[in-house]
Amino acid sequence: MKAFNITLASLMSTVLIGTSQVSHAAPSLEKMWETLQQQQKQIEQLSKENKRLTEQLEVSMEMKQQASETKQSAYASKGDTSIGGYGELHYNSFKDQDNKLDFHRFVLFFSHEFTDKLRFVSELELEHSIAGEGQTGEIELEQAYVEMDFNNKHSAKAGVFLLPVGIINETHEPDTFYGVERNPVEKDIIPATWWEGGVAFNGQLGNGFSYDVAYTSGLATPTTGSNAYKVRSGRQKVGNAVANDGAITGRVKWTGMPGLELAATAHYESDLTQGQGVAGTESSATLFETHAVYQKGPFGLRALYARWDMDGAAAKAVGRDEQVGWYIEPSFRISPQWGVFARYNEWDNNAGDTAATEKKQTDVGVNYWPHENVVLKLDVQRQSGAANTDGFNLGLGYQF
């Protein structure tokens, strides 16, 4: 019993001493709280870091997947070849005419960069959805040229290309302009879309000036019939084109301040008929075109004037020795998605005669861009003078 008491006393003293030691080493509650807070902070930081690393790992996995897909893609494996395109579906409803639904243009661009200074550019177009004998549409090669840079300001190209004239001849993707159909002045007077085969030089002259000079095949207008000397009927589209007489085109453009473009083009053909008519029907011809494009904030303005002058008695006899037109188009961008416009056009392919052959057209409409490269359009057109096709147009356009 004595022994038990001694052992108990000894054990108690040991516990007491131990407790006294623990009590001495234990942090205060405040210290423990501080430590806890620090640990919590570390946990949060580690958690954030963990989240960041997990996300980066996901990105890495995606990049690896993309790289793998790139290797499998025929196009992407040719990294210097790129494709693009645009298209437009139109619904036309005109007075006293059948309503029409037309996939007006389906276009594919293919380009290839041989080197940094040498590239190939092409544009292949299917018009009116179906082509072939007896069909309404056509397949057209509008561009196919090789371009070479002399330096970082001057280039040359050879092949089939769009002539440097007008506003929409070179830039006509549907989301870049107002109105479902392209304006009638550039269509019938310039005549857009106009492409020829040949060579061209272009470059920058400084102070916002740039130049284009082209030596190409020319038009071959009929010399008889209702379309005699009508420029639009002379487009040969570089399909076995008669190239007895070439054409030279020069343009000077100034884009020296934001939002403003001023340009003038002169084009000369030594014989618009390519010598295809009977003797005495030859006609040398000159086109002069000038335009201004201005955009300031939401306000936009386009204005263009174009005029053909043709020599020769035969062209004069049918009143086609002068063909002229102009238009003005104010617009307002309500928001990035919505824009409205109005356009007034006057043009006359028989301006050389005294008959009242001048055509007038007013368009008013709206564009809606659900995406920057996709557009829905609606416009109303009213014609007067020698034309009387009134109605409305609906359109869907895209580019990529």
């Binding site: 990105v59 550019v121 050879a158 830039t171 060579v199 920058q204 934001p258 473009e261 955009q295 990035p336």
Partner: protein, 177 residues
């Protein structure tokens, strides 16, 4: 006579092209990225850092670009309140390389470094890029000022506007907690 002149004209121009071609130089490099960085950080270019287009910022990046991002890791350079970004965005077909400097959340400078597109080269001019100076990004991630476009260069203008927005957005995310 005219036909002979025509032939001579074509042959002459073809010869010019051929001769000129032997002396051709690549176009479109207006400033090397290294030179742009040295211009920006005259006192010494800082070490590059990397921003990852993780899922937390990716939706906004896609909204600004209007498509999936081409790069998921973007290098940038930062010193004090300034950050410099070298970004690539396709206009029509080819990437445009642009340097953007952001200072205190505002655009200090936009410089087209490499332009590879066949149209729209006007965007490289100072009169165009100077419009971005002082621009900030709004809560809807649009720029706070309108940028006047260039006729015929719509896609290049659009690409530069996106690059400016993106640099401002990235800069903003660096300062977010």
């Amino acid at each position: 006579m005219m036909q002979s002149l025509n032939r001579l004209g074509f042959i002459g121009i073809a010869l010019v092209l051929l001769i000129a071609g032997t002396h051709a130089h690549a176009r479109g490099i207006y400033q090397e990225p290294e030179a742009f960085l040295q211009d920006t950080f005259a006192e010494g270019v800082p070490e590059p850092e990397m921003i990852w287009v993780t899922k937390s910022i990716r939706p906004m990046v896609e909204k600004i670009l209007g498509h999936k991002p081409n790069a998921l890791r973007i290098r940038y350079w930062r010193k004090a309140s300034r950050s410099a970004w070298i970004l690539e965005e396709i206009g029509k077909e080819k990437p445009i390389t642009t340097g953007v400097v952001v200072n205190n959340g505002q655009i200090e400078r936009v410089k087209v470094l490499v332009f590879r597109e066949s149209r729209g080269w006007e965007v490289r001019h100072d009169f165009f890029t100077n419009q971005f100076k002082g621009a900030t990004i709004q809560p809807d991630h649009q720029l706070n000022k309108s940028i006047d476009g260039i006729s015929g260069a719509t896609l290049s203008v659009r690409a530069l506007r996106k690059q400016a927005q993106l640099a401002l957005y990235f800069d903003q995310t660096l300062k977010s907690p």
